[in-house]
């Protein structure tokens, strides 16, 4: 990232939202474990809508189906990791790559998760999550995963989305509900504390 790009990105972190930002800038692990392609709507203190299309590698040796455990991971990356990182950066006046030197994003707990449908290679899904708790670098989110209607322009569809519609999951019935997730909890743990857990 050039200095000019960093300055622009810093301005987004300070004053904007994640729509249009490359998830690679927020999710700092390697690309094979990154399960978010795009952010389509983001209200920093309320929640987010992000999408992912499972790759051939994601479904390999698993009946061409994207695993449920990976759905939870994708949801957590889209919501907790992305939203909490976005909120933490202004507090520390930095970009996410600086946070990587101090913290490890870790699962703390997972509440009820109910799967109602499935996802295959070739599908696109959205994680739609709302923030129910954010304090001391711990975030809790509830939300749902929906399969996206083929060919839908998600940026256009969610351009006028609102906090109220997020809380009501007010989207077209053409979206197919795949999973419902509750109390997904993660925390940015200081690296020195994380290492003591070993």
């Amino acid at each position: 990232m050039t200095e000019e790009e960093r300055a622009g990105y810093f301005d987004i972190i300070q004053h904007g939202n994640l729509v249009g930002v490359d998830p690679a800038n927020l999710l700092l692990h390697g690309p094979t474990k990154r399960l978010v392609n795009n952010y389509h709507w983001h209200s920093p203190n309320k929640g987010i809508v992000a999408s992912y299309s499972p790759t051939e590698r994601d479904v390999e040796d698993h009946f061409n189906v994207f695993r449920g455990v990976d759905q939870v991971e994708a949801f957590a990356q889209a919501t907790i990791v992305s939203c909490a990182t976005f909120l933490q950066c202004p507090k520390q006046n930095c970009l996410p790559d600086v946070l990587r030197d101090s913290f490890v994003p870790a699962f703390i707990s997972i509440g009820n998760v109910n799967f109602q449908n499935y996802l295959e290679f070739g599908d696109t899904f959205i994680s739609i999550g709302n923030i129910t708790f954010w304090k001391w670098r711990q975030m809790v989110c509830d939300g749902r995963i929906y399969r996206v209607p083929k060919g839908l322009d998600l940026d256009d569809y969610f351009k006028d989305f609102t906090d109220e519609r997020l809380l009501n999951y007010d989207i077209s019935s053409d979206f197919v509900k795949v999973a419902e997730l509750h109390d997904i909890t993660g925390r940015a743990i200081l690296i020195e504390h994380f290492n003591k857990l070993a």
Binding site: I108, S109, K135, W136, R137, Q138
Partner: protein, 93 residues
Amino acid sequence: MENANERKEILDGLIEVLRTVRTIDPARLEGVTEETDFLTDMNTPSTELINIAAKVEQKFDIEFEDEDIDRMGSKVKDVIDLIIMVKERGANN
């Protein structure tokens, strides 16, 4: 002696807070001392420590910083030490 009284008052207040935590078995609150460990003695889920901290803030009218929570140990005495430290910090500001 004054310090001992203060710690006893905080311990009593803390036990009141713990009685409101759904995941803590009330039977485990009998005989709680400063050496009691939330994780090993009370089987408190690690995620619950943050909720307890939020309730402690309200109970004692204090405000923890991120770093306070990072430093907080899992024993009752650690929480009491933290409460006293944060109260003193608030008094000095």
